[in-house]
Amino acid sequence: MTARLESLVQALLDGDQALATTELGRLRQDKVSPHRIVADGIEEAMARLDAKCTVEQFNLLEIMLCGRAITAVIKALYPPGQPPPHTRGTVVLASLEGDIHDLGKNIVKVVLTATGYYVVDCGKDCPLDRLIDTAKAHAALAVGVSGLITTVVPQVLKVRDRLAREGLGAISVLAGGAALKQASAEQLRVDFLAQTAFDGLGYLDQIEAGRR
């Protein structure tokens, strides 16, 4: 990796979006391709953040700052109308109906987008029907549901059956969030219960690799 790419990685890890954008400008001047900037800059930063953020040492602030810097770099790299190439599959995310907390879901969105997944965000307070319809329309690789409050559990329990009924049984279901983490994947009838955003990414990478 060049020193300049390493500077970008460090700026991203420090959550310094101004410096990250400046480093991006320098890389573009040096004619470094967007593909390389994503692969050796953004994805490298995510990999290092992943290694650093264990279940015991995971805090929202650090991820948010890194995520904000990455979002700024991606926006500068791919202005509106020129979306980044997504090669790793589509993931549909939602905070289900009754839950209006979406910060955790937004973090997952940044992590997945920065690592090459195409994320369709159904937002918060999302009815189950909309989640299923969106997964169908986008031929999703997986759906991810988050829950900060326990009252969403009954809806989470329905996701897998609803997908199967629509002939979408091959779509993986991931869950995460403070309330849901108190249960197990079996109890929630999902394929994977993510303890952190990177935990979810690791699972997606496995199923994505398995389908290649």
């Binding site: 948010m64 937004n106 309330a179 108190q182 109890q187």
Partner: protein, 349 residues
Amino acid sequence: MTGAERIRAAVAFETPDQIPVIAQVFGHAATLAGVDLQDYLRDGQLLARCQLAARDRYDLDAVFALMDVGVETEALGSVLRYRPAGYPTVERYAITPNGDGIDQLPLADAATAGRIPELLEATHQLRTALGDEVLVIGCVSGPLTLTAQLMGLEAALYLAIDAPERFAQLLDIAAEFGRQCGCAQLEAGAHTVMLFDPVASPEVVPPQFYRELALPRVRETLAGLRSAGACFTWLHVTGNTQPILLYYQEAGADLANLDFSVDLQQASATLPHICFNGNIKPLAFVEASPAAIAAEATRLVTTFGPRRGFILSPGCEIPLEARPDNIAAMIAAARHPETSAAVATRELG
């Protein structure tokens, strides 16, 4: 011993006649009484009636004069959206994402604004009805949590990095307002006031952020509550708080609420002189069986009862939709641990 005496004995590391138990029955009291949660959260007399009914139903050692974390931000100008079957959420924050509005917060009138008078009415009614037999517990949001409630969590955390002085100013305001609200609750009859600060969790901000920004203000708030007559101070941060527990003594906490993800053995070593309460999974009160709750509660009582500074409780609020027989099972385990252990063994094998 009365329930209140039992809790106070545990906080002082004295030997209670049986393990005290605090069931964090908040909005669940409305569910239990068949009352609309929206009414419960806006009517102090109704809240008190539901809490008293829950106290009778479960034989509680403590009741809560507590509405939701929106009370203070609403009093300071945020607009809440009330929902049929859940706690209200902020629809419009009092402060913009870049911090505009801090200087215009209506601090002078806030202590009597919004639902605070109803909250104080609930507190007064509960203390009048229960005297000193059962603890009446109030609640204020911690400085980080109230700050997040005033402008949104994401905006607050970005402000902390982008404009630290402005963020510190807001934290000072939040801490002072929390102290004022807590003192008003004590004056209305609360025995103590829990300082609830989920945003201070190490899962949200790093420990050094807590140490530098939250700790000095939490210490000041707890000291203020103690001076105003709180029978003990109680700190409740959610999630795995192990990385910040070493600051609790410095914060002046007499009682530490420990969430389900905290390893109590490790916490006990970190907090040798601080009583803690915990830490059954809140979701278990919805999903598990009474026998499973009895087994977990009995395990906690057996393991941590000898410590003396231990109060059996869930790790956090009991969910609105909890099974009443599960709550009863937890309380029975504190009252009659041997019987509960036998029930758990018989049912679960």
